[in-house]
């Protein structure tokens, strides 16, 4: 199969805010029809990257192309054909569900004959057909987020930017939104989704790009990243802080990488035959979180 034209690409993109370099030579591509998860700790430059893609931030250097349009010059065309779901809920809260969608069907220039159908479609996506006349401020958090997503889809975009789509929501609502996003993906819509929930990226993304300090530190399919950076199995040792420090020192002296997992220490790599720590630890499959913390560091910014 020939390499398909990417839905969006960034090459060597730099964005500075005064002395801070938010995005520092970023290379990123979303192949058409795939979902790319942009993973990184707070302050890694994910939100800035999202703003660059809608030309709400202008890059200092590098090239950005979205759906074949060059940014920032042709960003209006690009925006007409993509959907954006912001991290912060900016629905019009005194309007009804339907009115919010009507407004965006105009802003996204859905031609008049298609408008009613587009709104029905969006209501169906958000599963809010029987709430169409409810004011937004009377909706639950999950419903609002579904509406926020549907609002960005009212014009049937080929590409969707999801900025932290499930941040601050309870597990049930998150799963419901994952199902919605998965459905979009199965329809062939290209998705760039920023998140700092590892599980979200692991479940939804075809490939994951891990960002730290404005740069890409690793990318690939989640399983491949885990294999490459954390191996198949890891060993997690639970215990009081003093014991954890001991285990860490022990593993380090044996040339192994470790990471703190809150109440435990995870030792990376094949661990068979190390008797010292095995007593109070468990062997488990390595996951993307191990990779994430290994690559982006443990300190909290």
């Amino acid at each position: 199969m020939p390499e398909p034209e990417p839905a969006l690409s960034l090459r060597g993109v730099v964005k500075r805010y005064g002395p801070i370099t938010a995005v520092d030579g970023l290379d990123l591509a979303v192949p058409a029809g795939t979902c790319v998860g942009l993973l990184g700790p707070n302050g890694a430059g994910k939100s800035t990257t999202m703003r660059l893609l809608t030309a709400q931030a202008i890059a200092d250097d590098g090239a950005i192309e979205v759906l074949g349009y060059e940014l920032p010059g042709e960003s209006k065309q690009a925006r007409a054909e993509m959907g954006v779901v912001p991290q912060l809920d900016n629905l019009d809260t005194t309007l009804t569900v339907e009115q919010n969608l009507i407004v965006f069907s105009h802003l996204y220039r859905v031609p008049r004959p298609h408008r009613a159908a587009a709104i029905e479609r969006a209501l169906a996506i958000a599963n809010l057909r029987d709430r169409r006349h409810t004011r937004v401020d009377a909706l639950s958090g999950g419903m609002r987020r579904r509406l926020l997503i549907a609002r960005g889809l009212v014009h049937q975009p080929r590409l969707v930017l999801l900025d932290e789509p499930t941040v601050g929501l309870d597990p049930q609502v998150r799963q419901e939104l994952w199902a919605l996003i998965d459905r979009l993906r199965s329809e062939g819509i290209s998705i760039l989704m920023s998140t700092h929930y590892i599980e979200e990226a692991e479940r939804l993304a075809d490939t994951v790009t891990i960002m730290s300090h404005g740069k890409v530190v690793a990318e690939g399919p989640p399983a491949a990243l885990v294999r490459e950076y954390a191996g198949g199995e890891v060993f997690e040792v639970f215990g009081p802080p003093a014991r954890l420090a001991e285990v860490e020192a022990e593993a380090k002296s044996a040339g192994r990488r470790t990471r703190r997992t809150g109440t435990s220490v995870t030792i990376i790599g094949d661990f068979s035959g190390n008797g010292g720590a095995a007593a109070d630890g468990v062997q488990r499959a390595a996951n993307l979180e191990d990779v994430f913390v290994l690559l982006t560091g443990e300190e909290i910014a």
Binding site: Q56, Q77, L88, N90, T94, Y108, E120, E187
Partner: protein, 280 residues
């Protein structure tokens, strides 16, 4: 074609994608401005009652207070018009100011800073220039209508209708456009919503004093009269009074030109300020 009703939850019903391939969007597009206007109009449908109430009750109270209070001391002003008529026409400019500059200041700040509405709009195919122009146009339309309220109230108290008054909505629109761009500019340059207090007391209140709303400015010192020429509120007051009581030729051409000039200048400043704020 799939009917939206017929499809269940699992499949998302699809409609034919709108034709847009290869379409080149221009820098300033009517449909972008239209989209923002639609948003404002739909929002207006949820709060028009309170706005209409305050914009008609306020001038009534002023008219009663000043018209009957001061009016009992002063019988005629300037060219022999009654004080009630003087106030009734003068307050049109004030109503325009209060239904354009103030809501633009607060509305703009709330929409970009608290509600993040502008982030959502700029993620759609709308640029800052179109956004600002649409918001100002909407405010100008509102001010054009609400600005007529004092005139209508004054008619209830004895102001005679005249043909010239038909020009008042257009005068209001022009002044309202400038004032709402002024309000947007202020919102774009202040750091916090608390700073609006400085603008209302240090800029807007003094503008009143040299506008001729409540008293004619020809009694003021000469410097104040010269300053008045730089005051858009003064030109609006003059135009509305002349519309009601008789045009004054070139003086009114200048008055209107001043409003247009003010509008154009404030429009560009508002766009510059908002672009700095929204795109960075």
């Amino acid at each position: 074609m799939t009917s939206a009703e017929a499809t269940g939850q699992r499949a998302v019903p699809s409609a034919p994608p709108p034709p847009r391939e290869g379409r080149r969007l221009r820098r300033f597009e009517r449909s972008a401005v239209g989209g923002v206007l639609v948003r404002e109009m739909i929002n207006f449908s949820s709060y028009w009652r309170s706005t209409t109430f305050s914009s008609t009750v306020e001038p009534t109270i002023y008219l009663l207070a000043f018209g009957f209070g001061l009016g009992s001391l002063i019988t005629t002003v300037g060219g022999g018009i009654s004080y009630k008529e003087f106030i009734g026409t003068g307050m049109v400019a004030m109503a325009v100011l209060f239904s354009s500059a103030m809501p633009s200041m607060f509305g703009t700040f709330v929409k970009y800073s608290f509600q993040r509405t502008y982030d959502a709009i700029l993620a759609a195919p709308v640029d800052t220039e179109e956004l600002v122009s649409a918001e100002a146009l909407w405010m100008a339309m509102r001010a054009s209508v609400f600005g007529c309220a004092p005139l209508l109230v004054a008619m209830l108290f004895g102001l005679d209708p005249s043909w010239g008054m038909l020009a008042v909505p257009f005068i209001n629109f022009t002044a309202g456009f400038g004032w709402s761009c002024f309000g947007i500019s202020i919102a774009a340059f202040v750091k916090s919503i608390d700073n609006f207090g400085y603008i209302t007391s240090a800029v807007i209140t003094p503008l009143f004093l040299v506008a001729g709303t409540f008293f004619p400015i020809d009694q003021l010192p000469e410097w104040a009269q010269i300053l008045a020429q730089l005051n858009p509120l003064y030109h609006c007051v003059e135009l509305v009074r002349h519309a009601a009581f008789g045009w004054e030729g070139w003086a009114d051409v200048w008055n209107y030109a001043a409003l247009v000039l003010f509008g154009l200048l404030a429009w560009r400043v508002a766009i510059y300020g908002m672009r700095r704020k929204l795109v960075n």
